[in-house]
């Protein structure tokens, strides 16, 4: 068998048990691929367990930019007995399955177990080689080495990354890992030269890619938080927000910020509000049920007009739900969290550059309007990596909204726009009085109903200006469209790539362009959203939830109902193939192309 993968875009999936070091392979390969000059995208799906189960990581390597998840698997590296079965719905006749003889034996012997006949099995002695080096734990690095060799990654790049990663584990382990890499390269070379199982990949490397940034959604958001001047974070670990907590805690020394792991999410948000009251730009990071615990605190931020940034990493609920999977289910939770009525802003980045700028903006707007501002992320976006040329650092500008108080300072002085210049304790001669009860201008508790009405009006008045500051949605495609595809947050790239594929295949109908409108600010909506929707003849929205929460908010805000919804809520992100298939249907085009061979969400559910 000879396998020549000449496509300019290869999807490699590594699958193994938790604890086998799949993430190590991902980290090394992603960096190695970029340093070689290929474009890279990686995403992982994993179970909520520390050992066992089946976890997989997809690494897309391409001559062009890639930034989204595909069902397609060109090469599957099976590192465990259950790997092939775990991914059987995504294995096509073209998939090359590489693995230890032991791990692929059962699938090989009963090939009919796979939905599509597949005979592209390539055995490499991973386990035996690992045992020779010092134990099965080295199998992951051997696999990474073999793949690197196939991808034409210079050995010194690979060794450099292995050294960076394992040096802290001591010289013995590092030596073994370098040996494991070497052994992997030898196995890879064998595959390239073998007469029986020849595998050769051909990709075009670009030297400019080598100097690009390789970031995860978490990294980009974290850098945005630092750029926004975050000085205090209190949180409680919870997937998928924990990586952002680790990012800020890890940078706490360099950026002079305090990270505190609170005893629970209730303490976390109340701490963040305390620090904010004392003038430090503050945030929490949480998800699902953790955020549910914070809701009372969101109301406190609303009542006391205390700025706070809330990073909400979404995962499927209700309650504990699917802890390690992805969703866009907590938009309503964010929008309606807290008792009473008060303004807020919700951002939902879909690309790395947006994660950076929106996070930075979140801190400035929280301070400007003295409100809670949400950054809505999700497991898929937080955990994915891809390369981008740069981040807009030159645009980083932080406005200082704090004032020095004078003796008669009134924290809730009623102003024309509802925003009272904000003082903090210990800066100036005034006193800063804040109360979760309804309060007068000074901040003291009151039950005067006239003042109550004035204070509600004051708080809500800010919404007028917040709406004026709303970000315009991003239109991808022609302004002159007939059909409009709508997405928000992390669905940005899958939708965009699907539409590009359709265009590349020349399937766009002569009349009736289809464009894509992406909402990165989901509340309040920019006024142009209404115009965009009214212009379209047909509109479809894609969301990772079962209710079409964004569609409902759009209807509430614009009065326009979105008829067509493509909703996926099985815990996995949209794949490019399934989006493509659904959009072709939406556009009234017969799907003749290969499309996706993965199941659609409806079938999975």
């Amino acid at each position: 068998m000879s396998v020549f993968l000449k496509e300019e875009d290869i999807s490699i999936v590594l699958c193994g048990e938790a604890g086998q070091g799949i993430q190590t392979v991902e980290a090394v390969l992603a960096q190695a691929v970029k340093q070689t000059g290929y474009h890279i995208f990686s995403t992982k799906e994993y179970m909520s367990r520390v050992r066992g189960g089946e976890n997989s990581t997809q690494i897309r390597i391409s001559s062009d930019r890639v930034a989204s998840y595909v069902d397609r698997i060109d090469i599957l590296l099976a590192l465990s007995y259950g790997a092939i079965d775990h991914l059987k719905d995504r294995i096509s006749p073209k998939t090359v399955i590489i693995g230890d003889p032991e791990h692929i034996k059962s699938a090989r012997e009963s090939e009919n177990n796979l939905p599509t006949l597949n005979t592209n099995f390539i055995e490499i002695p991973l386990m035996e080689t690992a045992e020779d080096i010092g134990g099965l734990i080295y199998a992951n690095v051997i696999a990474a080495g073999a793949l690197s060799c196939l991808l034409d990654i210079p050995k010194e790049i690979f060794d450099g990354l292995i050294s960076d990663m394992f040096a802290r584990k001591g010289p013995e382990i590092l030596q073994n890992d370098l040996k494991a890499g070497e052994a992997g390269y030898t196995l890879g070379k064998g595959l390239m030269e073998s007469e029986e199982n020849q595998v050769k990949l051909s990709l075009e490397a670009h030297s400019t890619v080598r100097d690009e940034l390789l970031l995860s959604g978490t990294d980009a958001a974290g850098m945005g938080c630092l750029a926004g001047g975050c000085k205090f974070m209190s949180s409680y670990p919870m997937t998928p927000s924990t990586p952002l907590q680790a990012f800020l805690a890890g940078n706490a020394h360099d950026f002079e910020l305090v990270y505190e792991q609170a005893e629970d999410e209730i303490a976390a948000i109340n701490m963040a509000l305390g620090a904010s009251y004392a003038g430090a730009r503050s945030m929490v990071a949480t998800s699902g049920s953790g955020f549910a615990l914070m809701e009372e605190g969101v109301g406190l931020a609303g009542m006391t007009e205390t700025p706070v940034v809330i990073y909400l990493g979404q995962r499927p609920g209700p309650a504990v739900g699917l802890p390690t999977r992805t969703s866009q289910e907590d938009l309503n939770l964010a929008l309606y969290s807290g008792t009473g009525e008060f303004p807020r802003i919700i951002f939902a980045p879909g690309k790395l550059e947006d994660a950076f700028t929106l996070s930075q903006r979140a801190f400035n707007l929280a301070d400007k309007y003295q409100i809670p501002v949400f950054i809505l992320s999700d497991q898929y976006f937080a955990d994915c990596y891809y390369n981008i040329p740069s981040l807009p650092l030159e645009e980083v500008e932080n406005e200082d909204y704090l004032i020095k108080t004078t003796p008669n300072y009134r924290r809730y002085l009623i102003t024309q726009d509802g925003v009272t210049p904000r003082g903090i304790p210990g800066y100036g001669d005034g006193l800063v009085i804040l109360d979760s009860d309804e309060h007068d201008e000074e901040g003291h508790i009151t039950e005067n109903l006239e003042i109550r009405t004035q204070m509600v009006d004051k708080r809500l008045k800010k919404m007028e200006h917040i709406r004026k500051d709303a970000l315009t949605p991003e239109l991808v495609g022609s302004e002159d469209y007939e059909n409009l595809v709508l997405g928000w947050g992390s669905t940005y790239w899958p939708i965009r790539e699907a539409l590009e594929n359709i265009r590349k295949k020349g399937l766009n109908p002569d009349s009736g362009e289809t464009s894509f409108l992406h909402l990165k600010q989901v509340y309040p909506l920019h006024s142009s959203v209404t115009n965009y929707l009214e212009k379209a003849e047909d509109v479809i929205i894609l969301e990772n939830n079962a209710h079409g929460q964004m569609a409902n908010i759009i209807q509430l805000e614009t009065g326009l109902e979105i008829q067509e919804k493509y909703l996926k809520y099985n815990g996995m992100p949209f794949s490019v193939e399934e989006v493509e298939k659904r959009l072709l249907q939406f556009m009234g085009i017969e799907d003749s192309g290969p499309g996706g061979h993965g199941k659609t969400s409806g079938e999975v559910l």
């Binding site: 209190s234 005893e263 209730i266 976390a268 004392a278 006391t304």
Partner: protein, 286 residues
């Protein structure tokens, strides 16, 4: 300074005549005057309950937050600006009931803050239900068979967690209360003062006279650095000791352990983004 320097002339005090809170408020003003603490550098943090209203009747900065949660903002205010004097004013329901988890973990953090807990063994604001410290057989409209839960022992819990300062005062003895408050505020580290206080409206059992009859002061030679002894004294019931049970001055505070303050003491709000560092961090991902 004089106690009246802490008066708020327009304060609309919502407590009942004869309420123990009134005495605590007077003692606190006298304490702060003696310690010469400027109201501008003072932050009162409270939750919800009758005690939680105290910050509205005294001159200072105020963070009157949510029920049970006062210690969380108090923690962060001190961590964000260690130059401020932070006094958490709470009640037995707010601190030991709704806020029990935060009570334990704030002790562990050991910030240099003072935690005054008005303990009248009953819920006042919600009109007379049992509190965590209500004594056995206390009848209320909700505990119709009388309380049969073990009363929460805040001092014993605090000493078990090696809280760095643990004391009990009685609101009716203002002279001694002032001495205890002073020691608590001056103490470097977390200081708990549980304050026995009568509720004239909803607790007809633990009245002012009852507290007088059932309390006494720890002996002058009580060794407040002996943790086992302190724990033993904290578990005494029937007759309740007052005074400073325990102190451990050897512990470092939370804010002392924060790296941000190792080289520079300036509060967080004065620290701005270092763009060069941000650029270096971003560049490191190339």
């Amino acid at each position: 300074m004089k106690p009246r320097d802490f008066d708020l002339p327009d304060a609309d005090v919502a407590w009942c005549p004869g309420c123990g809170n009134l005495s605590i408020l007077r003692s606190l003003k006298a304490t702060l005057a003696e310690l010469e603490i400027q109201p501008e550098n003072l932050v009162f943090v409270s939750g919800i309950g009758q005690a939680g209203k105290l910050p509205h009747y005294i001159k200072g900065n105020v963070f009157n937050g949510l029920h049970g949660r006062s210690l969380s903002p108090a923690t962060a205010i001190k961590a964000a600006n260690p130059e401020l004097t932070v006094i958490d004013v709470s009640g037995d329901g707010c601190m030991y009931g709704e806020g029990g988890n935060h009570f334990m973990h704030t002790i562990r953090r050991n910030l240099d803050i003072t935690n005054l807990v008005h303990n009248n063994m009953v819920y006042g604001l919600t009109k007379g239900q049992a509190s965590p410290t209500s004594q056995r057989d206390f009848n209320t409209p909700l505990q119709v068979d009388g309380v049969f839960l073990e009363p929460f022992n805040p001092l014993a819990v605090a000493i078990a967690l090696d809280a760095s300062f643990v004391a009990r005062a009685f609101s009716g003895d203002r002279k001694q209360s002032i001495e205890i408050f002073k020691a608590a505020i001056k103490h470097k580290g977390y200081a708990l003062v549980d304050i026995f206080q009568p509720c004239v409206s909803f607790n007809k059992v633990n009245t002012r006279d009852w507290f007088r009859e059932h309390t006494y002061y720890l002996e002058d030679d009580h060794d407040s650095h002996d943790r086992n002894l302190a724990f033993q004294r904290a578990t005494e019931t029937g007759e309740y000791p007052l005074g400073i049970f325990y102190q451990n001055s050897d512990k470092s505070t939370f804010e002392e352990n924060l790296t941000v303050y190792q080289d520079e003491k300036t509060p967080l709000y004065q620290r701005k983004l270092d763009k060069d560092k941000l650029r270096a961090l971003v560049e490191s991902k190339r």
